[in-house]
């Protein structure tokens, strides 16, 4: 196959203009974790079933295990490392902490980023909407009750801040 397979990729990563060289078919999850050191992006199933590798691409939740390097070009990518400001946690992160929605923490980055996506599209979700919105993110530690509660209170807080 002709043509170079090492790409020069320009994209925005957590608000910073970024250029990197990578094989065109390297998975985005590997670039973020191994090349960029952003280990808040987790990998579990590697096949789109668990949501641990969720990132935001142009504001929408996407699975970084099902994206290749070439697809980063010109995109705006946010990982869990990029959603807080300095030492201040994002309101959704705070709500997860305050509601005890974290046990081992492995699913948490994906849960939080899926919540960002959900609340962008639906700022006042019902409990059913929350369960449906997070149905692509698996937690194997405990029930989902505290996670649902964390999302509900985060939504309330964000609506309060907005008004």
């Amino acid at each position: 196959m002709e043509g170079t397979t090492i790409l020069n990729i320009h994209f925005t990563l957590n608000g910073v203009d970024t250029t990197l060289e990578a094989p065109a078919d390297r998975r985005v999850v590997d670039i973020l974790r191994e090349d960029m050191g952003l280990t808040g992006v987790k990998e579990c199933c590697g096949s789109g079933e668990c949501g641990a590798c969720t990132i935001l691409v142009d504001g929408k939740a996407r699975l970084s295990c099902l994206m290749l390097a070439a697809q980063l070009s010109k995109r705006n990518v946010t990982t869990i490392e990029g959603i807080s400001t300095g030492n201040d946690l994002h309101p959704i992160q705070k709500s997860f902490v305050e509601n005890g929605a974290v046990q081992c923490g492995f699913c948490t980055p994906g849960m939080v980023l899926s919540t960002v996506d959900l609340l962008t599209r639906n700022p006042a979700p019902s409990s059913e909407d929350i369960r449906e919105g997070l149905s692509g993110n698996l937690c194997r530690c405990t029930g989902y009750q505290m996670i649902v509660e964390a999302v509900r209170t985060a939504a309330e807080k964000l609506r309060g801040d907005a008004s």
Binding site: M1, G3, T4, T5, P23, A24, D25, R26, R27, G46, S47, G48, E49, G51, T54, K60, A61, R62, L63, C65, L66, M67, L68, A69, A70, Q71, S73, S114, D117, L118, E132, G133, L134, S135, G136, N137
Partner: protein, 291 residues
């Protein structure tokens, strides 16, 4: 590793690449192809990613049809008001496909070209009588969906050919749009069996017309004129549905796999019909009620 990934931005660019690299594998959302690539079940020399071709992402309402671009993401279909108004059966099927994360990426054209017997949009698209638009650098052709899907993972797509759009007639007169799938859990489950129905029920509760299709219980989507005829002219009462369910069980040709046995699939294909009794009173047939 280290294969090229092309990212065309226009249809002419894509058609040229597809002609030039006939062995390259196309992917739109990648929710199936990239899993196969990782598992090593495919090893193409190059990949062509379709996500940047904005001309293939649209939902256009015409007088008698909806036309959906092949690279339209399932989330866009769920959020479309023309789809909600005219194609509730498709909306219901897409709503239980994968998860929000999968639906943000996966496309309607991908679900068709993957040609999985368990593809959740396929029973709905079959009874909606969807017609596919296919392009090569030489020209275009049209194909009914049911003639395009040949078997598990096999389609009539020719080398260098691109599925560009799906044309779906607005189903006139069908006041019941039903879809249900059975999986091992509610999100992210591959269907064990699925069932789509379009029914025209009269004000007095008699079925005037019926289109039925089952997924995951045969090499391609299963339809049954006999099961449809068992409903037409009748009310959705216990005897009628039990009789039609028996016909459905005879019509399907399921296999044993890791998700379920053929015996279970055959049984549940009929049982799924019994759910139509939820619509037996004409007052409940308003499509708004069942959305």
């Amino acid at each position: 590793m280290n294969r090229n990934v092309f990212l065309p931005e226009t249809l002419p660019e894509l058609l040229e690449l597809a002609t030039h690299y006939p062995d390259a594998v196309l992917y739109a959302g990648g929710t199936d192809i990239l899993v196969q690539l990782r598992a090593g079940t495919i090893a193409p020399p190059a990949l062509i990613c379709l996500e940047r071709i904005t001309a293939l992402r649209f939902i256009r309402e015409q007088k008698n049809h909806l036309v959906i671009g092949a690279c339209t993401r399932l989330t866009d279909i769920l959020e479309s008001s023309p789809v909600a108004a005219h194609l509730p059966v498709l909306r219901k099927a897409v709503r239980v496909l994968g998860s929000p994360l999968i639906r943000h990426t996966a496309t309607i054209g991908g679900n068709i070209c993957t040609a999985s017997p368990a593809g959740d949009s396929l029973p709905a698209l079959t009874i909606l009588e969807a017609v596919l638009e296919l392009h090569t650098s030489e020209g275009a052709r049209r194909s009914p969906l049911h003639e395009f899907i040949l078997g598990p993972g096999r389609t009539a797509r020719r080398p260098g050919e691109i599925l560009t759009a799906i044309e779906i007639p607005k189903p006139a007169g069908f006041n019941i749009h039903h879809f249900e799938k059975v999986g091992q859990r509610s999100a992210l489950a591959i269907s064990i069996a699925s069932f789509a129905a379009l029914l025209h029920m009269s004000d007095s509760g008699v079925i005037e017309d019926a289109r039925l299709a089952w997924g995951s219980v045969g090499p391609t989507i299963v339809t049954s004129k006999a099961a449809e005829n068992a409903l037409i002219g009748n009310r959705l009462n216990h005897d009628v549905l039990t009789h039609a369910a028996a016909i459905a069980r005879a019509a399907v040709s399921p296999i044993d796999d890791i998700r379920a046995s053929a015996l279970y699939r055959r049984q549940v294909s009929g049982n799924l019909m019994l759910r139509l009794s939820d619509y037996r009173h004409p007052a409940t047939t308003d499509t708004r009620h069942i959305l």
